[in-house]
Amino acid sequence: MLIKHPDDFRSSEITPESLYWNRRQFVGAAGAMIGTTLLPSLTPLPPLHVRGEGERGGEDDKPNSYEDITHYNNYYEFGPDKRDPSEHSGRFLPRPWTVIVEGEVHKPKTLDIDEILTRYPAEERVYRLRCVEGWSMVIPWNGFPLSKLLNDVQPTSQAKYVAFTTVYRPSEMPGQNTNILPWPYVEGLRVDEAMHPLTLLVTGLYGKPLPNQDGAPIRLVAPWKYGFKGIKAIVKIRLTRQQPPTTWSMAAPDEYGFYANVNPTVDHPRWSQKRERRLGEFLRRPTLMFNGYAEQVASLYSGMDLRVNF
């Protein structure tokens, strides 16, 4: 697997304090600017060191340990506790594996996972991951932009959304024998979200193949959204005309929406989203709009009421 290392992060990308306080105006202006001029030249790397609010200012985002990332997981296919996926995914077989790409496309494909790994070399991307429950990590993923795969299958003009499906294998995934959630797990993105440079199909972690408990052999990562949007063990990608169903939204529609953008101003009905616990840190830190990726993604939602479209 070819791993390209990102360029060093430029200090000019750190949000100056004055801009932070006027961030809403800035985001609007930045959105227009990015949309019209910067997109072609935009490096596909998110700013890693976005400063938080005053009370936690100056904290770098240090990647969490491999141990933590592979032993603290929400992957209900293997059980509802954080330790269940690492403890109960031993029987899961990520090979052989095929991913079907179909729907509103001119060139549907059925790809073997090893074909995918060869055709779309993985890059290292260090992203924040914010769970809807209120904890977060920083994870060095290895993956490639979903847009590369989608461009190869040539979505038709009718394609408005991308729907994803996880494998259904109750014999290897004990949680699928319970009805804690409807199975198989499904998720979806709007086509522009799917085509965004930040959106990755991930196949590795810390330079090693993705372990079972983290979504082997291939999973989605959309870092500006809550973690449950990062569907794991993908077997099908389908381009659709209508907004597809998403599992957590089916389970609790008033709590989990389709967009699930990280948003400290829109609380979960039962708990606040203003702050989060970064694993490994002692005190909580403020949650950032779009998980700190506002510069890159806010323009996707301009004009949308994010309280209604949560």
Partner: protein
């Protein structure tokens, strides 16, 4: 003998807390230790509350009257764990008093998050119960002591609701606790006949009477 059992009960009751400390020192609490500590102390609070509420039904079913003297121990152990649970939330989770604005977040949590509202209320209800658990207070309050301590059912119910409202998805544990609580409540109310309330009014029929006594004796049940 009773003292020995009391000592054993207190020791056993503190083992979960000791294990938490042990796991913390050996970095065995996983990636989110605060969540683990909060969860484990909360879990033991509910279990010990249910244990406290199980004493009277057990006494009735087994006829082992002396069990009543261990009820206070169980209740105070539950109170210990709820204090640990609340302090974990307040100090370690929210960072009070170290982190600025912590108290504001705590007040906001209590006011706006239903699961915390009921949890905090349950905690508040347990304070007078712990306070009045002594023999002195039982004497002082007399009949009202029993009425006051019925609040334990309310506190336990709020505790179960607190747990139920904080989890994602359909998880069985809080539902199981809820069912146990309902069962204990039912057992409290039925069977009526208490093994330690042989009091009858003077003109009651003799003991050979085939009719059951429960209806008359129940009102004077001291347990």
């Amino acid at each position: 003998m009773a003292r020995l059992i009391q000592a054993a009960l207190v020791t056993a009751g503190l083992v979960p807390a000791a294990l938490i400390v042990w796991d913390a020192l050996h970095d065995n609490l996983g990636a989110n230790p605060i969540e683990q500590i909060t969860h484990r102390t909360g879990d033991w609070t509910i279990r010990l509350l249910l244990g406290t509420l199980a004493v009277t039904p057990l006494r009735r079913l087994t006829g082992w009257n002396e069990i009543i003297r261990y009820r206070r121990t169980l209740g105070l152990l539950a109170f210990t764990y709820v204090c640990l649970h609340f302090l974990t939330y307040l100090v370690i989770d929210q960072g009070f008093p170290i982190q600025g604005f912590a108290i504001r977040y705590v007040v906001e949590d209590i006011a706006k998050r239903p699961y915390i509202t009921v949890g905090f209320t349950a905690f508040l209800l347990l304070i007078p119960l712990a306070w009045t658990s002594t023999k002195g207070w039982i004497r002082r309050l007399g009949r009202r002591w029993k009425a006051l301590h019925q609040l334990l059912y309310v506190a336990a119910a709020l505790g179960v609701l607190h747990y139920l409202w904080l989890i994602k998805g359909d998880r069985p544990t809080p539902v199981v606790y809820g069912l146990v609580l309902v069962a204990l409540l039912v057992l409290r109310v039925w069977p009526r006949r208490s093994v330690t309330a042989p009091l009858r009014s003077p003109d009651a029929p003799p003991a050979a009477d085939p009719l059951p006594l429960p209806l008359r004796a129940r009102a004077l049940d001291p347990s």
